[in-house]
Amino acid sequence: MTSRLLMGIAVLSGITTLILYFVNLQLGLDVRALLVEWVSILAAMALLLGVINLVAVHLRKVGTQAKGWMYSLILFVSFLVVLSLGIVKLAVPANPIGRDGVNFAFNYIQAPVEAALAALLGVVLIVAGARLIYRRRNWGAVFFVLIAAMLLVGVAPLNNLSFMQGLSQWIMQVPAAGGARGILLGIALGVLTTGLRVIMGADRPYGE
């Protein structure tokens, strides 16, 4: 019963929102805006619950002193520090300590680590590309490696390799764009079918 009720709520909200996309009525616009506003607030609340759940999990590990509880403690400490600075920033907007503290944490803690992680991604991608032919021993892999190497050179070619820039640009503008369009259309059609299944109650990702 509850699952049917949830499905009805999901279908009703979905159909209402979808219909009001194509029905240009003031009441419809207000209802659609009201639903979208509720969902955006719920999305923010869900994001906050995610943060709370993350902190609770690591606090549980610290309490039980499970494996890696020291890292969880470090995470919790850093969370408390940034949260305290943010509360100060929100509570006392005029106080620069909160604002500067949050900015300091973002610029000198979060930004460098994220950038370093992204830099590691480059190394990992290179290693994966180098292993591709050894892993997938087919002509598709060889073709993939050759195209990738050509496009890389074309992004920032050396002086004596400028001739490859035009070929790489053509590949990016014509076949790759054509393929990308097909991918976009495929993704869009997938989103369409998936959304319609949810709206029709075929898929129930919200649980039973």
């Binding site: 290179i126 180098a130 032919i133 990738a148 890389l152 050396l158 400028s162 990016m172 790759a176």
Partner: protein, 1141 residues
């Protein structure tokens, strides 16, 4: 209620009284007169007195005494002391004690011994047999109920006497009827008491089969004939403690004591296999009466006359003739002779005679045997001059001569007459009277005379000795064979104590013959045959006595050789004569019989020979029935049974098949103590030539090998070394125990299918059958009990628990514990576990991580080196292209620049910072250049972001005062941002999205740009460019710059300065360019190496089965990624291959 006549005053007494109320004489138990109700319980009452094997509790004492007797100095005193003990104690004790010493010669202890031995035989196997442990468990299980069933009711009393012969007759091919017919004249008078007692017996033993009832009736008849009125006291007294016998001997008159004693022996006899007796007398009842009844009356009357006049003198003479050991408590045997005194009735005569016969042996037993041993039989003429023996010898000779004389004429030994019986009895009486003189004469070499008389008897007609033996049991020769080692064994034991023993022998008790043997060691005893018996030993291969006029030596060997031929002469006649006419010999030989008895040697066969031969010599005569007392006396030993058999054979002409009764008897005898395993050692004559008790192999006692085997082998080297067939059996005898001799018949019978009817087997015998090992306990109706008293029965609850049932527990447990389905499931589970363990062995992930670490480190070092070169200034100038000069980048930057430049002035611009610090390094140049251009145009920037971190990135680029709104909810939040009336989107002229992802750009395009239709420019990363180009080509995006090159190109366009103006930016660009080109080279190098390895692997490895429609994955990847998939693929390929096949 029956009445018992006083044996003294002859007055009737109530059955309940133990002593005569008139004269105070102890009354015989009614159980001895007939089958009384209390009879069956008698053995049960006495059972506690004996061990499980039927031995008295104190049999160990006698064994200990026998050990002491081996000390030389005290040899004579020991055996005398032991003999006294033997008289008083239970038979096995005296038997074991006398076994090592001379009292073998004493008839009284001998009598007592074989009586006790008979008891023990009834009870069960010997302690040695028990120690052997080969059969004790089985016998204890199966024997007890049968033992109880066979416990001597009065019915069994005479049957005990007949049981052994019965069994032996069975072994002789059905001679049971022969001796049974000898009772035919006795049967008529025995009916009434038998009937009454039969009813009682049936009441007491309801389990008795009808046959047993008939048997009891039969034997009661015969018993009533033998001792109707003056039946001895209850045989229960036999089971009284030995001390009781001594007390009576001391306190009461000898007549009473002897009466009691011989009744004890009789009671002992009755304890022997009663059911056997029942069977025997069943035949007896069925046997028609013949003329011999008159003969039996005649000899009984003659016996009466003899007994009344001479019993006291016989006792006195016997007591006088006895040496100092006579001071000891009176042995039962002489008193038994006195018991025969009371002239109660005709049938008492034989008892009197028996008393005389029993008293005689004590006179000069030793004086005879040595004589004939010393003096080899020379010629027949030497026997004539002897006056004492002439009469009885003549009487016997007359009988024999008559028979012998008739032998040539008629050749039938049955030509016996009452007259001959009277003469014989007279002579027998005189012989009993002249015992002292006989003893004296024995020292003076009288015996050679009768030895000569043997030759005389043999001379006129060799048939004389041989003729009676024509129906003699083959047990006789075997008995003779076993006899010699026995009494020689006793001699050998005596030799150990030679000085004293030899002295004693010289002084009379054990005269010269002992002196002769006393000094002879065990090995020296082998000289005996060579010295004393050279002729008959030499003539072992001589002509048969049947041949008239055959030389005397030729007569003797026949009893050795004859057994092979049924009915042939089996016993030396002279031996039989000695037994019959010289009671001392009988007593002596009896004692010798007893001693080996104690030694658990089959010496019991000796009396068999004795009884056999003296009866054979009187064969076919009614008077030999007068020997019944003697026979009974002898018959109370297992050997006596044999002797009884022999003289009965002499009385019976045609043999008839023994029938199932005999076999039953045999089995019963065997079942009492004989274990099935001992069946193995059987001589070739076991089935027919020899009595079972001879052929019976016994579990070797612990001490018997020393006691009997060496003496046996040493005493009879000549005719044992190359023995006839029966000797092979005789060799097994020394290992037999006296208590298992009779028992030993059973294994001999089992192999014979002739007389056995399976249905007749008693339960205990079924329990002794080899039991097949059951694989499980079947409790169904077809379950057959294989052990215990219920063995052989079907459909009963098992006496043994399932645990006790032997079998293969593993198989049983497997069958009961695990079903097939469970077994299959267990196999499946086992296979699953095995596969899991195999997977654990692979560990591909570890290998991959190791390789990956090296690859990653190498690539990282290369990339770091390439990026560090520009910052280190190690890159040559002019190597890199200036992005500001890049045409494609310049065109894109120009498009964006124009789009911003074309925005209406004074109208806010919405800038969405849809990226996080991870993309800041690539997007910051373009975003900063955009903000700079917007700032150059003085356009208001409204910053928003759907990324929480985008807020921080925007704030890091914007001024401190600018506000960045966070739009939660992704596409929904953008839709809300579009539809929000108070949204900052309403009045903006353009939407400028700086994003590092395709999704955010699509969201902005789909939710905002489509809804508002406003111009939208995008600064994105190189990763998102391929998927955003279509939106550019579709016109949804006004401008798009991507990556670091696009940002630097746009930055240079906005700033108007080349990249070279900023060294840090130049170094970053150079590092970026070097890393990109280096990455392309690494990809190509990796691809080349991978291709080479791919070719090498394809040559080295078998080409994997390519599954159509799927990209073939190299095995290396399968190994490193999913080792289980490899197995699955192999299984799939294998299944495919099989399908294709």
């Amino acid at each position: 209620m029956d009445e018992i006549k006083c044996p003294n005053c002859g007055k009737a007494n109530p059955e309940v009284l133990l002593k005569c109320r008139y004269c105070g004489t102890e009354l015989p138990a009614s159980a001895e007169l007939h089958a009384g109700p209390e009879a069956p319980s008698a053995p049960t009452l006495n059972l506690p007195e004996t061990t499980v094997l039927g031995l008295p509790k104190d049999w160990e004492k006698s064994l200990a005494a026998s050990d002491k007797a081996e000390q030389p100095q005290e040899a004579e005193a020991d055996w005398l002391r032991r003999l006294r003990g033997d008289i008083g104690e239970a038979a096995p004790a005296s038997a074991n004690a006398a076994a090592d010493t001379i009292p073998d010669d004493q008839p009284a202890p001998g009598l007592d011994n074989w009586l006790s031995g008979l008891r023990e035989q009834d009870a069960g196997p010997t302690p040695e047999a028990d120690q052997s442990g080969a059969f004790v468990p089985t016998t204890e299980e199966a024997e007890l109920p049968d033992w109880l069933k066979a416990m001597p009711s009065p019915d069994a009393e005479p049957s005990a006497l007949d049981s052994a012969p019965q069994a032996e007759m069975a072994s002789e091919g059905g001679e049971a009827d022969d001796w049974l017919k000898s009772f035919e004249p006795l049967t008529p008078a025995s009916s009434p008491p038998a009937t009454s007692s039969l009813a009682d017996w049936q009441n007491i033993q309801p389990s008795a089969t009808p046959e047993e009832d008939d048997d009891s009736d039969a034997w009661l008849k015969s018993f009533a004939d033998q001792a109707p009125q003056t039946a001895p006291p209850s045989g229960f007294s036999n089971y009284r403690p030995p001390g009781a016998a001594e007390d009576e001997a001391d306190t009461e008159p000898k007549a009473e004591v002897s009466d009691d004693e011989w009744m004890k022996s009789l009671g002992a006899a009755q304890d022997t296999l009663p059911t056997l007796g029942l069977d025997d007398f069943q035949k007896l009842a069925e046997t028609p009466v013949t003329e011999e009844a008159d003969d039996s009356d005649a000899w009984l009357k003659s016996l009466t006359a003899l007994a009344t006049s001479e019993s006291e003198t016989a006792v006195a003479e016997s007591s006088d003739s006895l040496p100092d050991w006579l001071n000891a408590p009176t042995p039962p045997a002489p008193t038994v002779s006195a018991e025969g005194i009371p002239p109660v009735s005709d049938t008492d005569d034989w008892l009197k005679t028996f008393g005389q016969i029993e008293s005689a042996p004590q006179i000069a037993p030793q004086s005879d045997t040595p004589d004939w041993l010393k003096e080899p039989p020379s010629s027949a003429s030497e026997a004539k001059p002897e006056p004492d023996l002439t009469q009885w010898l003549s009487s016997v000779g007359g009988v024999v001569g008559g028979s012998a004389g008739a032998a040539p004429e008629s050749g039938a030994p049955e030509a016996a007459t009452p007259t001959a019986a009277d003469d014989w009895l007279k002579s027998f009486k005189e012989a009993a009277k002249s015992d002292p003189e006989t003893a004296e004469a024995a020292r003076t070499g009288v015996l050679p005379d009768w030895l000569r008389s043997i030759t005389d008897e043999a001379a006129p007609g060799g048939a004389t000795p041989s003729t009676p033996s024509s129906s003699t049991s083959p047990a006789a020769p075997a008995g003779g064979a076993s006899n010699l080692p026995d009494w020689l064994q006793s001699f050998k034991d005596t030799a150990k104590s030679d000085p004293a023993t030899a002295g004693a022998a010289q002084t009379g008790a054990l005269p010269d013959w002992l002196a002769d043997l006393g000094g002879t060691p065990a090995g020296g005893s082998t000289q005996l045959p060579t010295e004393n018996l050279p002729d008959w030993l030499k003539s072992a291969s001589g002509p048969t006595p049947e041949t008239p006029g055959a030389p005397p030596p030729a007569d003797l060997p026949e009893w050795i050789l004859s057994p092979d031929s049924p009915g042939g002469p089996t016993t030396p006649d002279w031996f039989g004569d000695v037994q019959s006419k010289k009671k001392p010999d009988t007593g002596k030989i009896d004692s010798t019989v007893v001693d080996p008895f104690a030694l658990q040697s089959p010496a019991g066969s000796t009396p068999a020979i004795v009884g056999t031969d003296w009866l054979d010599s009187l064969k076919a005569d009614a008077p030999p029935a007068s020997e019944t007392p003697a026979f009974e006396g002898l018959g109370r030993t297992t050997t006596g049974q044999t002797s009884q058999l022999d003289w009965l054979k002499g009385l019976t002409p045609p043999p008839t098949p023994s029938g199932p009764t005999t076999s039953e008897v045999d089995f019963q005898i065997g079942g009492e103590s004989q274990p099935p395993p001992t069946k193995a050692t059987t001589g070739p004559l076991t089935s027919s030539d020899l009595p079972a008790w001879l052929t019976e192999p016994q579990p070797a006692p612990t001490e018997s090998p020393e006691a009997s085997v060496p003496a046996f082998s040493s005493d009879l080297p000549d005719w044992l070394t190359a023995p006839p067939a029966e000797m092979t059996t005789a060799e097994a005898l020394p290992t037999t125990t006296p208590f298992t001799e009779g028992i030993s018949m059973e294994p001999m019978r089992l192999p014979e299918p002739s007389n056995l009817a399976r249905a007749d087997l008693p339960g205990w015998l079924g329990a002794m059958r080899p039991v097949s090992v059951p694989t499980g306990l079947n409790l169904g109706l077809d379950y057959e009990e294989t052990a215990g008293p219920l063995a052989g029965l079907r459909g009963i609850l098992p006496a043994e628990s399932a645990i006790a049932v032997p079998g293969k527990p593993g198989a049983v447990v497997t069958r009961f514990a695990v079903s097939d389905l469970e077994q299959q499931q267990a196999d499946i589970f086992r296979n699953i576990i095995a596969e899991e363990s195999q997977e654990v062995e692979a560990k591909p992930v570890r290998k991959q991580r190791f390789n990956f670490a090296w690859d990653r480190l190498l690539v990282a070092l290369l990339v770091l080196a390439l990026m560090a070169l520009p910052f280190a200034g190690l890159v040559p100038a002019g190597l890199f292209a200036d992005p500001s000069r890049d045409l494609s980048a310049q065109a894109k930057a120009q498009t964006l620049f124009d789009s911003v430049a074309n925005l209406p002035a004074g109208q806010p611009v919405l800038v969405a910072f849809e990226y996080d610090p991870a993309s800041a390094g690539e997007l910051t140049p373009g975003a900063s250049a955009l903000l700079q251009q917007l700032a150059q145009r003085g356009l208001e920037v409204r910053a928003v972001s759907t990324y929480p971190a985008g807020v921080g990135v925007a704030q890091s680029l914007l001024s401190e005062t600018s506000e960045v709104n966070y739009i939660p909810g992704g596409a929904v939040g953008l839709r809300k941002f579009v539809t929000d009336p108070g949204s900052s989107l309403n009045d903006v002229s353009a939407i400028m999205v700086v994003t590092g992802s395709t999704e955010s750009t699509q969201a902005w395009l789909e939710q905002v740009q489509t809804a508002t239709g406003k111009k939208m420019v995008v600064i994105t990363s190189a990763a998102a460019e391929p998927l955003l180009l279509p939106y550019t080509q579709s016109g949804q995006l006004a401008a798009l710059i991507s990556g670091l090159s696009g940002g630097m190109a746009y930055q240079s366009k906005v700033t108007g300065d080349s990249l070279a103006s900023d060294p840090v930016a130049t170094s970053q660009w150079e590092a970026y360019t070097l890393s990109l080109n280096g990455a392309s080279l690494i990809l190509l190098a990796g691809g080349f190496i991978g291709g080479v390895m791919m070719l090498l692997n394809r040559r080295g490895e078998p080409k994997p089965v390519k599954q159509a429609g799927q990209k073939q994955e190299p095995q290396s990847e399968l190994k490193r990624r999913k080792p289980k998939k490899k197995k699955a693929a192999k299984k799939g390929s294998a299944a495919k291959a099989t399908k294709k096949k």
